[in-house]
Assembly symmetry: C5
């Protein structure tokens, strides 16, 4: 991650990873009866792309990935965005937030992907104007396919409604995706739980710790979402008749936070459980060792006692004594085992 300490504010520098796709801009002009999608490469075709921009027509402009920082910077000027907004678009490690500007609403969100025990976030930023929605997405496998499909379906509600409804659909899509992430995490938590209770290994500590960190990261991206949707609910850029939909998204965010906190509560006691299981094992090992030791150590003493090289010990030559000492050696372990049984050692 590149840091920009000391630079002038509003310096537009892309802070993400190197892009795996070519930066593209899709312009989707839609209405209840028509939909038209044009796609431009931001490197080779920037002229046409910028010519296309028209702040009047009802449309959705989606730019992904945003690795071409100069193109983004120029486009943001064409869109009439503040330089701080352009900076936030390019700085991909931002906290989710929603800010109301005079002519548009600016929203920063995180799209969460959990795969092979790794949690990744892709930043998506939205600029909502009266008639237009502009979205910028960090470099990642293409998303919003479902939404695009719905846009292509004739008579779909999404085509009839304005840009606030489109923003809601995308928001709903992003928020609902957190459920998938949480479900996978819940499965993993359950597996880990079984592992630490029944077959704890040295690796378990790492698993617990990795899971904790994942949950902390998830928390960092979902908690601010609540505030974001709250701002949207109070915003004047969202038409009142759509507020009910945003309230629904708000409920989902709260629900996700609830599940997440439940998971965190659950995982927070895993290290203690792990320690208890280890202690249990230690107890078992020590019990076995102790039982065997305490039985054989006195026995050994007897054998050694009789093995001393005192010439005087005539007793050793008597048969009765031999028998007697054998009986003694058999009875000692039996008595001790009985004592341990009584103390409930095993």
């Amino acid at each position: 991650m590149i840091r920009k300490v000391g630079l002038a504010p509003g310096s537009a520098i892309y802070t993400g990873d190197i892009a795996i796709h070519d930066p593209k801009m899709s312009v989707i002009v839609y209405g209840s009866r028509h939909v038209q999608i044009n796609e431009y490469d931001l490197y080779s075709d920037f002229e046409n792309a910028s010519a296309e921009i028209d702040n009047e027509t009802k449309s959705w402009i989606h730019i992904e990935p945003i690795s071409n920082q100069d193109a983004i910077w120029k486009l943001s000027k064409l869109f009439g965005l503040h330089s701080l907004v352009a900076e936030d678009v390019l700085s991909v490690s931002h906290r989710p937030k929603a800010e109301e500007y005079e002519e548009y609403l600016f929203v920063v969100l995180k799209y969460a992907v959990y795969k092979e025990m790794e949690l990744n976030f892709y930043q998506i930023t939205f600029v909502l104007k009266d008639n237009q929605l502009i979205s910028f997405a960090d470099n990642s496998p293409e998303r919003f396919k479902e939404i695009k499909k719905r846009l292509e379906k004739e008579d779909s509600r999404i085509r009839k409604e304005g840009s606030s409804y489109l923003l809601f659909s995308l928001l709903d899509f992003i928020v609902d995706h957190y459920y998938l992430v949480l479900e996978e995490l819940s499965n993993e938590i359950e597996e880990l739980e079984n592992e630490i209770i029944y077959t704890p290994t040295k690796k378990s500590i790492e698993h617990i710790h990795a899971l904790k960190r994942t949950l902390i990261n998830l928390k960092k991206s979902i908690w601010p979402m609540r505030e974001v949707v709250n701002v949207l609910l109070r915003s004047e850029s969202i038409k009142p008749e759509y507020k009910i939909y945003y309230r629904d998204v708000y409920d989902h965010v709260i629900d996700i936070i609830d599940i997440l906190e439940g998971n965190r509560d659950t995982v927070s006691s895993f290290l203690d459980i792990y320690l208890s299981t280890l202690s249990n094992r230690m107890n078992e090992i020590m019990k076995t060792l102790s039982i065997i030791s305490t039985i054989f150590i006195p026995l050994s003493f007897l054998t050694r006692y009789f093995g001393m090289n005192f010439k005087y010990e005539l007793l050793l030559e008597s048969e009765n004594f031999y028998t007697g000492s054998n009986i003694l050696m058999i009875s000692i372990p039996i008595l001790l085992l009985g004592y341990f049984k009584w103390r409930k050692w095993f």
Copy 2:
């Protein structure tokens, strides 16, 4: 649980388990002098059921289970519900909430059942109109029998009053049921407490953990209840003269939360107690081992020393030396036991 990422909002999909009963709709028309209950099967008898719907008469319409999603969807249209409401009715893993719509009040609640150490929630949703209460219940053993009985009793208050009082009665019923759940949990906590203090086993960790999770789940369903009742208290759909009853329910919810938090506080130290008990046992085992070892190891050395094959050792042939070494061997354990006693090892 079925997730609906990317679907249009308001998609009505039943997300519960497969129903164990046939979906039924009961229409209960009541007044201070009469009560009439009609029941319809939503599969075979949907026509009659929908014909019955009449948004004017004072009545209670109860639908249970809600597994027939198409019927619910059609009914909700007949009741004049928003598509998001219909979606919430069918999505059974919702968080308790109360939302005010223009023409009705929508409430989502959880009915908790604790049986054989398993905590289950059944979702019940209410739509309160001026004259009518509509309730949808997730698939479960029939409930509200007590309320129905009261409705059948002549001159009962519930028959005289309007739908807000009926909603209160049902709410009160659902909330009071949490007391039963908490009582069973308290018993279990007490049992577990005895177990971990007096006879801890390997299984105890699992019990503690399961109990913790149950309490987390319970918390997740009861905490939002407070907010729900708060919304009802402020709602204009509830007539002012009934507010006092809802305040009573609010007190109960707070009381339940108090008890629950007390239980959580109690259980949260169980793992520590368990660890202490294990440590205690370990200490005891080690003490026994140590006492026996420290007594016999020096003794054994002596026997071994006298057992060396030095031909030179003429001492071994003297009777006094034999007696003396026997006295030495008897005094060593006595001295060591005295020392351990003094150190309070046993």
Copy 3:
């Protein structure tokens, strides 16, 4: 405890233990110059008792115990109380609360008694009217003697002032009693502290846990008190000139909560201290065992080595070798003890 799931709200059922006294009603009519106390048995003398009730005269009516639920129910009708209030009076496991009704103020409090390591709560409910104070007390050894004494003293302030001052006096009495409970608990905490640091036993876990539970219970009864006094401070039923007294009670409640939280903080680390003490003991035991073992095990090997039955070992017959090996055997423990000393094992 009896639970009333499914019953009509306002069902008056006594949920306390079986009474140890006969239910009595004391009617105390007082003024600056006179005081008159009449006592009625609510079983045998209910007629006279109810005849006595007169909502005009400045008086204090105290009913204790409240085990006769029918009498309470009838009396509450005579006093003009709401059925929910009557229900709360009889349901003795209620949370402290204060509720303003149109014609009276209703207050539920807990009187705490700590005796022989057991914490008991007795519920006391107050109904404050303009001229009258009605109090209902759960079944317990007679209380308020001090207050009654003050009432009997001529020219005492309590006789001159109205019912809000009387309520304050009783409230003050109940709140101050918590100090006594906390003092006893503090002593016990100190004792337990010494126990777990200096002479921890298996019983200590139980003591710690019992103390924790007691503190949780105390918290559950004192925290809501703050809200109760707050409601009283804002209430219009309390005359402004008495507000200063209630503010004083409020300070005491806050003070009690402070002390309680301090105690909870203190006790919360007891289990850790206990574990540390156990670990310390274990360390000591293991050190002793280890020192003795590590000294004698090598020595034993030597004796055994020399005890092998090799016929070839002519060395064994030399006197020098015997002396040398004895020196070796004496120097090994000395060296090892020095090493342990250097490692600060003892």
Copy 4:
């Protein structure tokens, strides 16, 4: 501590320890050009002292100690104080608070002294009138010397300004003294930290626990201070031009709370560190024991095996066998030590 359960509110009873000084009252009449200090013994000279009281002249009246409860009671009447205020003055275990009365402002503070690992609080109460400041101090070594010196210095600001500035100076003095206490505590925390990490002993648990309690007590006295200064900032008794000074005191209180909470955070992990250090030591001891045992136990077996009294063992008589078994016995410890090294046991 004397508790007054059941007494009439406003009962003035001194609850502190027996006084070590004679109760004195200093009357300090000051102005920009003059200062005059008169001192009266409250036992022998009460008549003159009470004659001195004059609620008009700009003056500071300081009473210390307050052990003569009757004198305090009479004086408070002369000062025109409410009986609850007089009660609070005498009850020395009060929580810091500030209360606005019609004609004066009443402030209760705690002066903290930390000496020889013991934290003591002395209660100081202030009554601020338009022209006058009255202060009551619990029995302790004389304080406010610095302030008195400043008053005696000509042209000092404190002499020019009114009583609110004097109160501020005293408040500032009391608050700043907490810094000294915290500094001493910080030193002690650092020492304890070194102790538990490098040379933990059995005593360490006690130290940790004592420190924790001290911090809890300190918190109990400093947290309410924030509220006190807040009340003063909003109070009309403090002239607006002095508010800026009280804001400065407020900053200091917040700063002290910050330092205190930092210290509490630090100390809260000490028991865990202590446990870790103990575990570390145990591990070391067990490693030494294990290494020595696992090396010598197999060796011993061999010696014993060769020491069996089988007559048949002719091998024992061969020289090669003797050499071979010696090599075997030398190689076993070397191999095991190599194995332990590889496992990083030491």
Copy 5:
């Protein structure tokens, strides 16, 4: 740190370390077309420095270090600052804060530097007037170079805008520097994590504890920053058109707090992980010891048994018996190892 208990408030005493540089005052007069920097030594050149002060021209006056307390005191009078402000400027261990005075805005900030595992704070105070920014910096390597460079660049925005924008630039610089500190801390946390999981040593406890303290200190300096920026956002001294920039700084502060809290959450479980790892190691050691002991102790008994000096034991002379006992001695370890394998001990 020097404490000033008992001194008059507003006493200006420098509480920092001895300065490593000579105290200098830079006067930077700038405009969109010009910039002029004059530097004065506050010891040798104080006359010229004070002559330079002119509260009208648009300029930035930077004083660093502030070790010459008399010069600072005189300058603050020339700048027209309140004596409490001058005191705060010199007292370098202040909490970040922002205070609005009638004619200027006063801001105290902390510049964090993390180097070689040590966290240092340097206090920087700002006085913002309409046209002028005055800054005082604690003794440290020269800072704000980047800002000065930007000021020297023609046509830079910073030169065109007024003093609120300059303050923002400096604030942004200071806040962004926390990211660098957090990045270094994150690296260290990761390293420590690997250490305690894979190669825990005795030193690890110290590292964990030192890291915790660093995070506590960082928290103490960054948390109040939120409030500071909040005050600035509400302040009238900041022109409305610049508020958007301060909102950006606010976002960064929140972001830093988030990262910091995430780190604290992560580190807070390190001691538990460490304990678990230690327990794991102990378990392993004990297992090895137990396996070897439990195998050889019974074997040894047998050898000893056969080594007893009973003359009667004719068996010892039979070859079959010798073979049989050898088989027995071989089969015992095999059986025990099988048992341990089955119990999953290794």
